[in-house]
Amino acid sequence: MSRISKEQVKHVAHLARLAITEEEAEMFTNQLDAIITFAEQLNELDTENVQPTSHVLDMKNVMREDQPEPGLPREVALKNAPDQKDGQFRVPAILE
């Protein structure tokens, strides 16, 4: 049984904001299905009472003094902008 369908791949691509063609959807479905099937070997392990590790070092909430510092100058922040207007990032229409 396949672990992921072409429809699911299209949905995931939408969530990840990736446009994909029909052929790509086909290819990624096969590849992701193989990878997910492979990953299911983890089910051989009983992890019922195992804590998840998100981070290897034993550290929590690193705090520092909240001291104001100068921010980025506007022209520097806009230096790599693909499009800008009046000192702001410009994007295509948000509403149709």
Partner: protein, 485 residues
Amino acid sequence: MALFDHKISELKQMLHRKEISVSDLVDESYKRIQEVDGKVEAFLTLDEERAREKAKQLDNEIGKKDTYGLLFGMPIGIKDNIVTKDLRTTCASKILENFDPIYDATVMRKLEEAEAITIGKLNMDEFAMGSSTETSAFKKTKNPWNLEAVPGGSSGGSAAAVSAGEVPFALGSDTGGSIRQPAAFCGVVGLKPTYGRVSRFGLVAFASSLDQIGPITRTVEDNAYLLQVISGLDPMDSTSANVEVPDYISALTGDIKGLKIAVPKEYLGEGVSRESRESVLAALKVLEGLGAEWEEVSLPHSKYGIATYYLLASSEASANLARFDGVRYGYRSDNAETLIDMYKQTRAEGFGNEVKRRIMLGTFALSSGYYDAYYKKAQQVRTLIKKDFEDVFEKYDVIIGPTTPTPAFKIGEKIDDPLTMYANDILTINVNLAGVPAISVPCGFANGLPLGLQIIGKHFDESTVYRVAHAYEQATDFHKQKPEL
């Protein structure tokens, strides 16, 4: 003998005796790049004008200062996922093809303070996702030992440039083996430091709980010099550790009498080539001759590393790479009318297939209904893998095995089959999941291609890793052999 066959410590003495100038070192680098980079294709961007200017400035300071930076006048190459102010940084991706960073990574600031000179930026797998440097959007770097073989990856440009003598040393980054595996394939020395040892500020994030910057060099001593400079707590990276940085050079005593070595049976078993296994057994004999003892142990969860890694790293990547949306920097598609189409077209046109595959795998593993089955499960297995290492380190000083199951494979051989490519990382990946430090040093050849010995240490114990690597290096001469180009 080429200039870059000398160690940093020797080059520094030659500079101070005025036998050579900093400009000579920089000239040597660009001359060699001119000669061989057409074949090796390690560099993406050169910073020649500024490097030559900086060399002149440093030459004028020789004999006039009380103290000199630890890397005074030393030319260095930088992996192209480390941001360099006003020097194009692409991550070998079309989406950042024309990106000029507005700040320097912390490691770049530290190199500047140590008075090193940046020669240029080095090729890599796109966003460090790959094991062969073939996923670069711009060029295919070749292995200097055999131009038909891959240099490894993702820091393939860094390892190839050092191996080919284009720069004496380079920085790479390692998320699942991306420093050690190319170092092994190219016959050079590469260290992945303990997670938290080196600031990640300015390292373009792939998998934040695994990524670490580290040095790629010709010798263990040079490697220790470089780590000395880039290590330490950084207020700009909350995951950089508040742990004292020892003097790594003084750890290179050559004395490993009584050292306890663990050799995991999983690292010499199924899937590991005869050449890799035999080179490690020969290395263990050398270490025994120096007074160390070794025993076979087990890291029972080793085989689950690849599945765990690809779920976790891809999940983290799917979140980290959300920032590339064509709004604030990077490539933007012209083929869209609305904002959401612009995001989708920009990312579809800007990312290569390996990056897309991992973003989708990560998005799937984190999505509602699948999170517990895949992401949380992998995090739990990560705990088991980490504990495997903790158990062994209760009794042993280091863990030793091969860096890779085989020597470098052919260009094109694995690129169409993701799972076969991923399997190549089986011996390096668990080190990142556990967060411990590990080095690869040259330990032999198979059909003219180098092999690497992997030495893994306890958290924050790079000193012992270096001591063992250095003692082994001094007793062998694999590191002295160079590719003919």
